[in-house]
């Protein structure tokens, strides 16, 4: 199987206005994701997951190292045409209806009007929003907006789906639906890269994971090879030495 994502010794340091380094977000990170795999990018807050995803999407340039999607730079149109992305928050245009949102992103993917209409209808049915297709998404609940964003990520029928906290804001039933959906998509040949704070979700879906802490890869492997539950493994790797000291006045 060929690799869909290749990340080689990538580093990224954020700088202030005077170009002084403020934080090293990612340090010498390498991993690859094979076609048809569900790959988890895990780590605590501030571990560099979002920065890594932005570099994969071509929204950030790495200071050093290489990022490739389908063997090409993520900035190329060819790489972007096979990419779907669900951000951590939905970031929808509030004045568009659910249907218009999908048609808009369908248009951006170059779909003709007929295909775009058909896929929009099918996707809205799939995420359970067919009956509110003509309502402005600005009035949607967080969970509904999340479903629209999920459908938007799929409208171009991407080969690679990047999911940033896909179950964030969803109720348990919807969370289960998303997990089932991801598994179905992978059966159809799609490759998925996801981040999540919910280790149970990652354990349910992912074939392999990379665990990041403070921008550095601390572990990588198949879920089954980690030896213990993902949660225990994760806490052992990144939780070491981290403990809240209760403030005196709260005791």
């Amino acid at each position: 199987m060929s690799n869909v994502i290749e990340v080689e010794s990538v580093s990224k340091t954020f700088r202030d206005f005077w170009f002084r380094p403020t934080v090293k977000a990612v340090d010498q990170l390498s991993f690859s994701v094979a076609e048809g795999e569900v790959f988890g990018l895990l780590g605590p807050n501030g571990s560099g997951k979002s920065t890594t995803i932005k570099m994969l999407l071509g929204l950030l340039n790495p200071d050093s190292g290489n990022v490739k999607l389908f063997g090409k730079s993520p900035k190329t149109l060819a790489a972007r045409s096979d990419l779907g992305y669900l951000p951590e928050l939905s970031y929808l245009h509030p004045f568009l209806t659910a249907k218009e949102t999908l048609r808009y992103y369908g248009g951006l993917c170059g779909l003709d009007s007929k295909t775009s209409r058909r896929r929009t209808r099918e996707l809205l049915e799939m995420v359970g929003l067919a009956d509110v297709a003509n309502r402005a998404v600005g009035g949607f609940s967080k969970g509904m907006a999340r479903r629209v964003a999920f459908a938007s990520a799929l409208i171009g029928k991407p080969r690679l789906l990047v999911l940033d906290e896909p179950t964030s804001g969803l109720d348990p039933v919807s969370t289960n639906e998303v997990k089932t959906l991801v598994k179905e998509l992978v059966k159809g040949g799609m490759t998925v890269l996801m981040t999540s704070h919910l280790l149970g979700d990652a354990e349910d879906i992912c074939d392999r994971v990379v665990i990041l802490n403070r921008g550095v890869k601390v572990a990588e492997g198949a879920i089954g090879e980690l030896g213990s539950s993902l949660s225990d493994f994760f806490l052992a790797k990144v939780g070491e030495g981290r403990k809240f000291e209760m403030a005196e006045f709260l005791k």
Partner: protein, 416 residues
């Protein structure tokens, strides 16, 4: 192309559903209606005042508002993290900038069209416009260059002065002299000027002229203008600026391209024909002229909006909006500063630097400032197709340039 039209549709839907267009339409209606009632007190020159203040201010507000909206288009979307969802799709980034610039210009042009429509309803019905023809003269710049070389060789005083100043300044000085050159028509004598390009079938002529002595004072004027067998007399002891309709047609004398003036007074009459002598030929209606002016205004708006989108691609919303407004202020102020053209030798170093900065600003903003459809409408002059062509070319050039730069910036700018 599908992506391009989707982005345009998105921008227009945004303007419609956020009620921006409605608010604009209501504001323009209120301004045009209330402003007209205020101007009614002036009674005379109602048309000119309406064009200058009502349309002029409406157009300025559209430029400022939509320039600012353009500056906010990409920057706001970036701040709200929506831009990244468009940028990761298979759409070249310059297409995103181009589509947004065109969409904002499109709805701006609808607002301009609406204000022109209201102006037509108030003052434009039955009104006509004129084509303006100037006498044929040798190019002032070339004459100045020849004069410079000749004077430099033959006149020691000029050579000394020229050596103290840069050549460009001296040429500008000489060019101004040539443009302001007086000619004198002696008592009982005639003088003629060649006018080219007047259509053969034109029949309704007038002359716009200003007689003035060497001290800038008006004097008594009496005389007769003739063009292609049409003539009109002027006889006024007080005013210096005249519109002389050529409404008397004599037999014969058709064709030809000379505008002739015969001095009927017993004193010499002076004028500056390069500046103050124009033949006017009746063209078509205000409505057509307003349509042509609308095309030029749309092109000007396109330049401002494209610049705004570019600023928004590079900067945060606040700074981008500030930059657009500064650009428009500089556009208005710089040409006047440069036009006055103070002598660089009489300025101190700081003022010279300021003059250079003004010249640069005037040069940078000249693509917008040099088109003046509002003043053409005000003076009932026909907006020429050549001006529309120039404006359209400038609009497309700056759209392509700024969109390309915006695309480049969007690709390079770190979304952190």
């Amino acid at each position: 192309m599908r992506a391009f039209f989707q982005i345009i549709k998105l921008e227009l839907l945004s303007a419609l559903r956020s009620k921006t267009m409605l608010i604009f339409a209501v504001a323009v209606s209120l301004w045009m209606t209330l402003g007209r009632n205020i101007l009614k007190g002036a009674e005379s020159n109602m048309y000119q005042l309406s064009v200058r203040y009502l349309l002029g201010i409406a157009f300025s507000v559209v430029l400022v508002s939509l320039g600012s909206a353009a500056a906010g288009a990409l920057s706001s979307d970036r701040a709200a993290k929506r831009l990244q969802l468009t940028m990761i799709r298979p759409v070249p980034h310059f297409v995103i900038a181009t589509a947004r610039s065109l969409a904002i210009t499109l709805y701006g042009s609808l607002i301009i069209a609406f204000s022109l429509l209201m102006l037509w309803a108030f003052e434009g019905r039955g009104r006509m416009c004129d084509r303006v023809f100037s006498p044929v003269f040798e190019d002032a710049r070339r004459v100045a260059e020849e004069g410079y070389d000749r004077l430099y060789e033959t006149n020691a005083k000029f050579r000394e002065w020229a050596d103290q100043n840069d050549r460009e300044f001296c040429l500008k000085y000489l060019e101004d002299d040539i443009l302001n050159e007086y000619v004198t028509v002696d008592p009982g004598k005639s003088m003629s000027w060649e006018i080219r390009g007047v259509p053969d079938d034109a029949e309704d002529f007038g002359v716009r002229v200003r007689f003035i002595d060497f001290f800038g004072r008006p004097g008594s004027v009496a005389g007769k203008f003739t063009f292609r067998g049409f003539s009109g007399s002027v006889d006024n002891p007080v005013r210096s600026r005249f519109y002389v309709p050529l409404n008397v047609r004599s037999s014969g004398g058709s064709g030809g391209s000379a505008l002739e003036f015969h001095n009927n007074t017993d004193i010499p009459l002076s004028l500056q024909p390069r500046k103050d002598l124009h033949l006017l030929a009746r063209s078509d209606s205000f409505a057509w002229n307003a349509f042509r002016a609308w095309l030029v205004m749309t092109a000007v708006l396109l330049i401002v909006v494209s610049a705004g989108v570019f600023f928004g691609a590079c900067l945060g919303r606040g700074v981008a909006v500030f930059s657009v407004i500064s650009l428009l202020i500089v556009m208005v102020v710089s040409p006047a500063t440069v036009e006055d053209y103070p002598d660089p030798m009489s300025l101190n170093a700081v003022s010279r630097l300021g003059l250079k900065a003004s010249e640069f600003s005037a040069w940078v903003t000249s693509p917008v400032g040099r088109f003046s459809p509002v003043s053409a409408l005000e003076s009932e002059e026909r907006v020429e197709w050549s001006e529309i062509g120039d404006a359209a070319m400038a609009g497309v050039f700056y759209l392509v340039l700024f969109s390309f730069l915006s695309g480049l910036t969007m690709s390079r700018k770190q979304d952190d």
